[in-house]
């Protein structure tokens, strides 16, 4: 369990992280999302005691990172996989790490085996590919068999096989009751991996919610129906729009896109009116789309603004409104 209370980091006038209060719970994979420069890495560094908060606290199992007796056995972290001495072998790096916390050296060979790096273990880390560095970073995070994992972009540079491996690894760890907090820019991957989402923009908390609720909030019920007969199409569209809060668009190919009604509701109505359908299905918004809609207004570099006042929208209506906007 990771606890953030009013966590704030200021560099001069810029709030890199602004008053973050949240809990990262055990037994779940919590995804940490935000545009570049939103403060994700700064937040993770403060959790791990590398950066000093301007205000507020970041606690792991109720204690600041620096107060942990054997930090590697309490928290496994991977921040920048490339940040290793290029001349030191992967194994020597892990041996030094193990010795720092009194972890037996045989555990080093176990984790090297586990991440599939046993063969390259004695090569200088500078010769590793980005994917291999990533695996070394994960090996380091797992070294102390910790109940909490903090991973910054763990799938960066991994091949599809490695991406699946990470997904299974963190899902298994969460299923064992551990806390997993990870950031990623790969939305499709995050959608498959995370149970819970924390989204920040310009250092402020935008969402702290389950994946399901996040997607549901971002996308009102919406569906597509293919109606071959033009007359029946018009009838169905009229009947749908008779109720408030429903918008219907008709494409040239005879497809209706309905916002505000689910496929089940449209099917029932079509059946009731005797309208023939050739196709019917719910339109599911992807995490990527939901995320883009939410952060569109807070992307630092897109707006070019320097104040943080623009990011105030924590009501779901904003995301919904943005969701109806144009999509590129």
């Amino acid at each position: 369990m990771i606890t953030l209370r009013g966590l704030t980091k200021r560099y001069g006038a810029t709030h890199a992280v602004d008053d973050l209060t949240l809990d990262v719970r055990a037994g779940l994979v919590t995804g940490f999302l935000g545009p570049n420069g939103a403060g994700k890495s700064t937040t993770m560094r403060m959790i791990l005691g590398l950066d000093h908060p301007t205000r507020g606290r970041a606690l792991i199992a109720g204690r600041p990172y620096a107060a942990l007796r054997r930090p590697l056995c309490a928290v496994g972290a991977m921040l920048d996989a490339r940040a290793i001495h290029p001349a030191r072998s992967g194994r020597a790096h892990l041996v030094a790490q193990a010795r720092a916390n009194g972890i037996p050296v045989r555990r080093v060979d176990e984790v090297l085996e586990l991440v599939g790096l046993a063969k390259a273990a004695r090569r200088p880390a500078g010769t590793y590919s980005l994917g291999m560095s990533g695996r070394l970073g994960v090996a380091g995070a797992l070294l102390g068999d910790p109940p909490v994992l903090v991973l910054d972009e763990p799938v960066n540079g991994l091949d599809p096989d490695g991406v699946r491996w990470i997904r299974r690894l963190v899902r298994d760890r969460a299923a064992e009751g551990r806390t997993v907090f990870l950031s990623s820019h790969l939305m499709s991957e995050m959608q498959l991996t995370a149970d819970h989402l924390v989204v920040i923009g310009r250092g402020r908390l935008l969402r702290d919610t389950s994946m399901r609720d996040f997607l549901a909030a971002a996308s009102p019920a919406s569906a597509r129906a293919s109606v071959p007969d033009p007359e029946e199409r018009a009838t169905l569209a009229r009947r749908l729009m008779a109720a408030g809060g429903v918008s219907v668009e008709t494409s040239e190919s005879g497809e209706l896109t309905v916002e505000g009604r689910s496929a089940a509701e449209i099917g029932d109505l079509a059946h009731h009116c005797g309208v023939r359908l050739h196709g019917l299905g719910d339109v599911r918004v992807s995490l990527e789309q939901a995320y883009m809609d939410l952060t569109a207004r807070s992307v630092e570099y897109a707006t070019g603004g320097t104040d943080t006042s623009a990011v105030r929208s924590t009501d779901t209506g904003t995301a919904r409104a943005a969701g109806k906007g144009e999509r590129r």
Partner: protein, 274 residues
Amino acid sequence: MTTTTARGDGDRADLPGAGHDGLGRGTAGGFAGAVASEWSKLWSVRTPYLCLVAGLAMTGVFTFYYASIARINEYPVQPVGNAAASSAVLVQFAVVVLAMVTVTSEYSTGSVRASLLWVPRRHLVHAAKALVAGAVAFVAGTACAVVGVAVAWGPFGGRASFEAGTAVGQVLAVGLYQALVAVLTVGVAFATRHPAGALSILATLLWGLPSVLLGLGGLTLAAVNDVLPHGAGDHFMRVGTDAPHAPATAALIVAAWATGAQLVGLYVLRRRDA
């Protein structure tokens, strides 16, 4: 690894790492762990070996010429250990590079973050690096001094005296001086974080400034040099010169420099984000 049973909070003590001692029970973390880690890191790259070889080579060349010059110019007889003590002015830079790189290489590669994740109490990282560098420099300095004494004896050609007690004392004095230089270097390196900055400061302090002060001459400037690290160090390493301080005082002056650098380095390390 493939356990899929969800567990409630009440079961978390069963987790392998949850008790903080599932691994490494009974072995050291803390300062002992930090020292062990620094030791492993030091010897897993090539730099310290190269520095030691360079230190030995410089000692050999320097002491050979020192003794030869003493013979050729028919200097008065001096303790043979003076050759080794004098070589410290050059050999100290092998120690400087060795100690500096343990710090600056971590900043240039970003791996200092790893070090601070492993040992989050920063003063322990600082102290462990100083201790490891200092211990290695003591052994290396002592070894170089022994080699220097052995190399110099021949070329001195009778212009040197050997007295076991004095020789041992001088060899150990050189070791102590190099150890203090290493500690000084670690402090400066933590304060500057960059090799260029650290090296300019240390080259100025340990070599540039003394050369200028003694080159210009005069009692005042010499007195200033006497309280600089190498000036003071020279007074407790060499025997038979008219030193203004007692050897113990001279050693304390160098120790004070090392301590001061440690405090500055520690201040920067604790204050600044990694």
